[in-house]
Symmetry: C2
Subunit: 326 residues, 2 copies
């Protein structure tokens, strides 16, 4: 792999290396020279060595994205948003999948912070204090999580939960079961905060069913518990759980939404493909990723260094899994 260097381009174009550098990075060069250099560079298939450039500029042109699990469509969507935007601004993206392990997460932060211009930390599993200790506030943006002292881009989960409950109440449901996820997670606490707003509502009863794994299997497990309750509707921690619920309810011949309405959270693409199609709270996933990247690179009006806290709106998407109370 013999790579062409600035030297080669300079020689071929009959100019100095600095002229080549300037011509290619937008320094002051005469139009004609620039044109010639660009042509030669292109002809030689010249690709600047990012490592060398980074060594001197102090910027690598790369950033890191850390996610708990790429297999989870939610994170895949976030990653898609990041990579798409990165491609547009010609920025490389290191992706680290931590397998839901907080320790791996902290290690990834330690490695990436020295080899990238910044880190996008999506739904980290580590605790606030650990994150604060490991991350550089100047070059870190949290995605779908908020920690005081760090910049973040997150969805308005409380409002999304509110919309979901109001939707069910408007359909005449008076007893709604809430299937919770991992209780110590930030996302879970946010949902609970939304639920809590209805505590004083005399005509509504929220039945906390159980805390399950935020997976299809977790939903299957919750299915029987919900059927054993007096609820006429269920709000699930996320779409995966909702799909598990749907599966178990179908197996027990409980027709959705006649017998029970089901509402999910996140609106992953598969929510629309379930049977019946799932009503779900849509969370901007790819958009959060793109905005986080802009924040990191200081491309928008705000920068990560300012400790920005971006909150994106959520919207309830009504499909066939929710209907009038029977």
């Amino acid at each position: 792999m013999v790579r062409t260097t600035v030297q080669d381009v300079a020689r071929a174009a009959g100019v100095s290396v600095s002229t080549v550098s300037r011509a290619l990075t937008g320094g002051s060069v005469s139009p004609s020279t620039r044109e010639a250099v660009v042509a030669v560079a292109h002809r030689l298939g010249y690709q600047p060595n990012r490592a060398a450039r980074g060594l001197i500029t102090g910027r690598t042109g790369n950033l890191g994205l850390i996610v708990p699990d790429l297999r989870n469509p939610f994170f895949a969507d976030v990653a898609k948003g990041v990579t798409a935007r990165a491609r547009a601004v010609d920025c490389g993206v290191f992706i680290s999948d931590t397998d839901e392990d907080p320790v791996a997460e902290l290690e990834a932060i330690a490695t990436l912070r020295h080899n990238t211009d910044g880190i996008l930390l999506c739904s980290p599993r580590a605790r606030d204090a650990e994150l604060l200790a490991a991350a550089d506030p100047e070059n870190t943006v949290l995605l779908h999580r908020r920690v005081p002292g760090l910049s973040s881009v997150a969805a308005d989960i409380v409002d999304g939960t509110r919309q979901a409950v109001r939707h069910l109440r408007a359909l005449g449901h008076r007893r709604i079961a809430y299937v919770s996820g991992p209780e110590d997670s930030w996302a879970s606490r946010q949902r609970l905060a939304g639920i809590a707003e209805f505590q004083g509502d005399a005509e509504l009863e929220i039945l906390p069913v159980v805390s399950v794994a935020p997976t299809f299997d977790g939903g299957v497990l919750a299915g029987d518990l919900v059927l054993a309750s007096t609820a006429t509707a269920v709000l699930a921690y996320n779409d995966l759980v909702a799909m598990g619920l749907l599966h178990r309810l179908a197996a027990r011949a409980a027709v959705v939404p006649e017998r029970l309405s089901v509402v999910g959270y996140d609106d992953i693409s598969f929510a629309a493909m379930s049977h019946p199609p799932l009503t779900s709270v849509a969370v901007p996933k790819d958009r959060a990723g793109a905005i986080g990247l802009d924040l990191l690179l200081g491309r928008g009006s705000m920068t990560a260094a300012q400790g920005a806290e971006v909150i994106l709106p959520t919207t309830l998407v009504v499909r066939a899994s929710s209907g009038p109370a029977g």
Copy 2:
């Protein structure tokens, strides 16, 4: 972000930079010196600058993974396999999502081949000749695609197709519809090759229905066409198409598998969550990624440079969407 350099460590340890370098990378140093240097490095939180190291060693310690669409669970699974293995061998992974665009793909290859130690090219959309022109055979491994002249790790699609058809034949089906994907793709041609084996089978008729987009919507579209045919079973291009089929068949009150058996391909995680759970040809996805990485890094018995062609077995996973012919 003031990073500690070898200089700092050398000064603090009272030795020269070269000694520090040797102590940390396994050169010949006296045990006592090494111990002291390592201690100081650790105390100072020293993290070697990969860019600077790469500049001189010629190896970056990173590799690139190019996929058409991270949102597609198939590719997310492959990516997961790659990143998991990469973490184990302490290797960074650049992920580039090309959005199914062959041009973006070629650009990604051009950028990454100069800034990584190698490229993992998953199910590329570009043509053989373009790939051969853009990629360096020494440092490129194809995943789920074969191109003469390049190393690859792919599943035995022909055999998987064979298993699916035999399964349906064994269930008594005599007219099987095949819903094809993008006709010019490698994966599609492989499936067709598997189908072709049954041309001479007197007791079996394969009805080519149509070529659709390899998506849920493509499957929905194919649903009506399949119902209009005489087929009693359908083999779909992939699970997404199969799920679209399932959806449309349910909407038209065609019960699966009584009225029609449906078999998908790939066995993505959602195949087990569909209604009814989908019979599908399982393809090693994460394993292909991990093996590809080893090939690239020359960690196994083979290396990419040798032009290895690894073929992984496929297995039919029978679930509720396929049953006896009515």
